[in-house]
Amino acid sequence: MLDNVIEVDGLVKYFDGRCILGGIDLKVPRGCIYGLLGRNGSGKTTMIRILLGLEPPTRGRTLVLGQDSMKLSAKTHGRIGYVAEGHHLIQGYKVQRLINLCKGLSLQWNDDFFGHLMETFRLPMDRRVKELSAGMRAQLNLALAMAIDPDLLILDDPTLGLDTVARRQFLELAIDVIQRQGRTILFSSHILSDVERIADRIGVLVAGKLAVDCALEDLKNRVRKLRVIFPERAPQDLYITEIINQRAEGREMVLTVANWNQQKKAILDTFGPESCTETPMTLEDIFIECTRPASAVVPQESEV
């Protein structure tokens, strides 16, 4: 039994001389619900496509269910359910024909579950895929991905185009899948409240690197937003490492720090702040702080 369903080792991807992923290392253990986050263009979809063998990596290695992504066997493909961003279904096919095709190509097909999904979504069977609304296409895509009882479910912005009710239905489905033993989910989404609700682990792509890769609760503990008031003007050089963001105005400084610990606190104390209060952050707040483009970052001198 594999411990890690997905292993990414030094993944680099260039498109036409432009670096998208600059060295990603990632392990997704079995049974984990991994939320992959990042801003538009950060490389989430690219990484997912590389994992599925749709795109070759420029450098590095990716293993899915123990096999190289570019050499996945048909059996391994059959154990992966995929909902693509944009829902790449064959537009000219009728819904029933598409279902028959997917059923014919699958290793296992859960007719009951699929029937239940189709009843829930109420999709018209005799209409062509291109005539469906974006939300209906998303539902169909989701149903097809889940009907094969996948060991690994990869969802790339699966709720894009879904209304609130449909989104809730999807979440419930996802929870249903989670409750089945041994299932692993990797999904990316821009609706962080959904991610926060179901994910175990979080990964955040920033500037081609996986800047965050830890459990959700761990992330909330380790990333702190502090509001510090100094007796006089806030100091220019605050010798604290891993500052995610820093904003100073007069005596007040708002500081977002990664891996907050005793050492950092001690350093802060040396500057003699009058007060230091923490602002609670949701996942969305943390994400915004981590991916803010004007972050005060310390340029690296060493090679990455």
């Binding site: 680099v12 420029t58 380790r222 891996n259 990455v304």
Partner: protein
């Protein structure tokens, strides 16, 4: 299969596809040039005439319009020559019933099941037909029959006693006495179906220089060349009356009664051997009566070893005269031989007497003397120079062994190229031939070197391994344009990234710059200085749960 072997297979596969497609384009470009050269010659100098023939007394009689022999290109239509020698035409010509490679010698399509053919599986000639069987009451019944003829006899069943032919060639079918030669058994045979007998001629010695290749009607690609004999005629004078004309007709010398044609009129059958000589075979005794002509004399006008394989087309007209005035028996009086060179740009006509001596000849002017010829020669040379150098070199070494018309079917080798023509030029020694051929190959070699240089430069630029670079360079040098195109199609398609260290383009799929060896730096992406990962933090001691900090319930409360 490892990646390297996989790539080599892909490169070879792509190379084969490119080579075939490029070769086809070049083939038709060459053919276009050759077709225009042929058109130029056939329009300007497509007919030769020999008059008088020198075969008969009385040809110089002022009252007689002497005999003449004419040879024409485009015998069956304009521009037929180049198309007749193409592969599909050659295949159909030879394979259709009655063709030289069909083994069908006679076929009566309007009658039921009348055939004469050679069955290679049996090694026997087979004659299927219908015989009329007269009945006592005067009526005639038709009976189907099958007879088999082998070297040892004729029978109604293919028994071993009949023997087995190995590789027969035959003359035109004559029901009474049909002559065949077996190249494996080295004998002539006269098969007489009506009598049910097979006569054998003497066995030719194994080291005999005579190796017959055709018997009876001697021709090759006669659709693009024919030769005709026109007999002499009484010269008409204004003062002639019908009586004087009648007297002249009665006193007709033999010159006026001679006839010519491809079909033998006498018992002497012409036999062409592989060296181009035409012998006369007595069909009664099955022994040679002497040489009728030496076709080799006309074939050596062009390049290459003499023989029917060195010319694109030839046609022979046998000239006969009656034994006596008014007789229906004929005597062999000589023959006329017309040949067309392998490039289809030169024609020669020779007349030979009954003893095989050449008595008259004519040839077309040099091709380059014709207006516009130089342009087509230059165009053809340019097209040939686009071929792979290695194929041009191979054409040099195979030039002497290639049949004349293979150049019109060959995609890769060039048997009719300037290089091959020089290779067949026996007027200079081998050093001179090879040196001249190398000069002719110079443009192709220069192109190969130029393209190989480009490949080397590109390979360095994109950081190909030394082995891959060498394969590309050598392949391009040897194979020229197709090799270069193959390289361009199979080289890795990579957008290079400027190396921060040396400023040159480096491959993003390599750990180090292939120019300066520096590791990666990605200037356009500046990753954050912090990390929140589970297994060891970046640059700092292992994270402990941070100290509790009072939380602000309301932002305004803090101040």
């Amino acid at each position: 299969m490892n990646a390297r072997r996989y790539d080599i297979i892909h490169i070879f596969a792509t190379g084969i596809v490119v080579m075939l497609l490029v070769s086809l384009v070049l083939f038709w470009a060459r053919f276009f040039c050759q077709m225009n050269q042929y058109a130029l010659v056939s329009n300007a100098a497509g007919q030769l005439q020999v008059r008088p023939t020198g075969l008969f007394e009385g040809e110089d009689d002022p009252n007689v319009v002497p005999c003449r022999v004419t040879a024409r290109m485009n015998a069956s239509g304009p521009l037929i020559g180049p198309f007749v020698v193409l592969g599909v035409a050659q295949y159909l010509q030879s394979r259709v019933p009655l063709g030289p490679d069909s083994h069908i010698y006679w076929w009566a399509p309007n009658e039921v099941d009348q055939w004469l053919y050679y069955d290679p599986s049996l090694g026997l000639m087979v004659h299927k037909g219908i015989a009329e069987v007269p009945q006592p009451d005067g009526s005639v019944n038709l009976r189907h029959f099958i007879n088999y003829a082998g070297p040892e006899g004729i029978g109604e069943a293919p028994t071993k006693e009949l023997g087995r032919f190995i590789s027969p060639i035959t003359s035109v079918y004559y029901p009474r006495r049909w002559v065949a030669y077996d190249q494996g058994l080295r004998r002539f045979y006269a098969i007489q179906w009506r009598d049910g007998t097979v006569e054998k001629g003497p066995e030719l010695p194994e080291d005999s220089t005579c190796r017959p290749v055709q018997i009876g009607v001697l021709e090759k690609n006669s659709m693009c060349l024919d030769v005709r004999f026109v007999p002499a005629s009484i010269r008409e004078k204004p003062e002639d009356t019908s009586d004087t004309r009648a007297d002249a007709e009665r006193e007709r010398p033999s010159v006026l009664t001679a006839i010519g044609g491809p079909w033998p009129m006498t018992d002497l059958l012409p036999v062409l051997d592989a060296s181009g000589r035409i012998h006369l075979l007595d069909s009664e005794t099955l022994e040679f009566a002497g040489g009728a002509s030496s076709a080799a004399a006309s074939l050596s006008y062009w390049d290459g070893p003499p023989g029917p394989d060195s010319v694109a087309a030839f046609s022979v007209s046998l000239i006969s005269v009656p034994k006596r005035r008014g007789s229906r028996e004929w005597t062999h009086a000589g023959c006329a031989v017309a040949t067309l060179s392998r490039e289809l740009t030169a024609m020669r006509l020779d007349v030979f007497d009954p003893n095989g001596r050449s008595v008259a000849s004519a040839k077309t002017p040099s091709y380059l003397e014709l207006p516009g010829a130089s342009a087509w020669v230059a165009a053809r040379f340019v097209v040939e120079s686009l071929h792979p150098p290695v194929f041009m070199l191979a054409s040099y070494f195979t030039a002497s062994s290639s049949e004349a018309t293979t150049g019109y079917r060959s995609l890769f080798l060039l048997p009719n190229s300037f290089v091959a023509t020089k290779a067949r030029d026996r007027s200079v020694g081998w050093v001179g031939r090879f040196g001249a051929s190398l000069m002719l190959m110079l443009p192709a070699v220069a192109l190969g070197i130029f393209l190989a240089w480009r490949v080397a430069r590109d390979a360095d630029r994109i950081g190909l391994s030394h082995e891959a670079k060498m394969l590309g360079v050598l392949g391009t040098f040897a194979l020229g344009l197709p090799g270069y195109l193959t390289y361009r199609l199979t080289r890795p398609k990579i957008a290079l990234v400027t190396c921060r260290n040396c400023g040159l383009g480096r491959r993003p799929d390599r750990e180090k710059c292939h120019h300066c060896g520096s590791p990666w730096h990605v200037p356009e992406l500046i990753p954050p200085a912090w990390r929140v990962v589970e297994e060891g933090n970046w640059g700092v001691e292992e994270a402990q749960p941070g100290p509790a900090v009072p939380q602000a319930e309301d932002a305004s409360e803090a101040l």
